[in-house]
Symmetry: C2
Subunit: 265 residues, 2 copies
Amino acid sequence: MITQPLPSSDSAAPASADVGALPTTPAFSPLYQQIKVLMLQSLQSGEWKPSAAIPSEIELAARYRVSQGTVRKAIDELAADNLLVRRQGKGTFVATHAEQHVQYRFLRLFPDSGDSNSEGPAQRQIIDCKRARASADIARALGLRQGDPVLQVRRVLSFAKVPTILEDLWLPGTPFKGLTAERLRDYDGPMYALFETEFGVRMVRAEEKIRAILPDAEQCDLLHIAAHTPLLSVERTAYTYNDIPMEMRRGLYLTDTHYYRNELN
Amino acid sequence: MITQPLPSSDSAAPASADVGALPTTPAFSPLYQQIKVLMLQSLQSGEWKPSAAIPSEIELAARYRVSQGTVRKAIDELAADNLLVRRQGKGTFVATHAEQHVQYRFLRLFPDSGDSNSEGPAQRQIIDCKRARASADIARALGLRQGDPVLQVRRVLSFAKVPTILEDLWLPGTPFKGLTAERLRDYDGPMYALFETEFGVRMVRAEEKIRAILPDAEQCDLLHIAAHTPLLSVERTAYTYNDIPMEMRRGLYLTDTHYYRNELN
DNA sequence: CAGTGGTCTAGACCACACT
DNA sequence: GTGTGGTCTAGACCACTGC
């Protein structure tokens, strides 16, 4: 059993012994939250790898010296955050961007008619992949210093052979050392799946800022569109564990036969 | 205690008696799901009104003849869906679009710099509010028949006196009978809050389809923008309880100093 | 069959808000 | 203090998967 900020020092009924209580932030943290943190460390450290099964609830309960119900609540929250996937009768697994029923988990562009499958998978075309130095904007977004090495990728995604998305993306140079256009080209699957298997970087969460813009001449050319065709500008920052930014991406989406879908709750 | 599709007929340890089992869909539904349905009915029927407290967990447990833990799980899910709000020490309350810390729960447009509060609340200007007949599109979106009476509203939202959003919205005529431009003008608060208090319609969930478009002359005029200014087209369908569509809305967002924000998980 | 996650219970105690 | 939601436990049993 763990006990960092406050009570629960022994078994069953913990006694509170607040001697010389700190005046600032009682910082009470329930047991299951502390366990959640420990489990996050196991995920982050690579002890539990993507798509692999984690120990059973009973094992985890023994390991952390808590009841099964408590680890259960920790797992529930991690599953709600899409970090784990529960499968009744089989076990609990580390979520992955590959071999997931929903490929392209973060792509919200859908065709006007038919589902995403009707037009088959996207065709990817790597335009460019080069080393560069972080601009002020990129550095800020990735938590780097200006001038730090970054990788810059440009690609076009087509649906049913129609160029639909033009993407520029920037990756911090250090974690992604060794990424080349060839490896991107050869890999068959979502880019984030490649990041997991080849570089051990798992994208967990992302934020997008969306605008309507008019493309410049070069962008028109790459997407085979006329000037004055309005496009969706989708600026994404993707994060790994602990909210560390690991990718900055700017996509231009052609929305004449597709739309960006969002659900509000 | 409830028992619709399968077991749990008595107390504590329910016995399973599958005699002449149906070949299709065992349709097992856990107790807490059944209770969730019952609670949804209480919400839908108006027994529990927006911003009011619902009975305590202990009361509900007695009412439904289950343990507190079971109603707890039902409440947890309803709270996760933003239908209820839990407040420790005070009770559980029916969620509302009014007096919520986050006004404009469904509006995802934010200023480039500063938070939403820095520019103060939006100025609303009702351009039009009239009776009409549902077009084929509107009828389909609202689950009506073509030609059914609808209310059509057009308004402009401005931030810091700059017109930023032009919205057209369609409401089914029957539930919203009596809605006029005056009432919209006079009401001080989110439109969805007015819908709750005046018409008993609670918007629970919405879907948006987003595109980049070029406005026509009239739209340019209303937003005080030049031709060829690209805009975000945000098409929203909003739903009440039980996924019943209750509003169709199309907004044009000026995104030169604002952006549409989305979070991906 | 054994092992996994999923449901349900009953009871104890803690944290918080109000009075 | 009383009442509310929040945490934690221990144990029983159910549903699903795969050997």
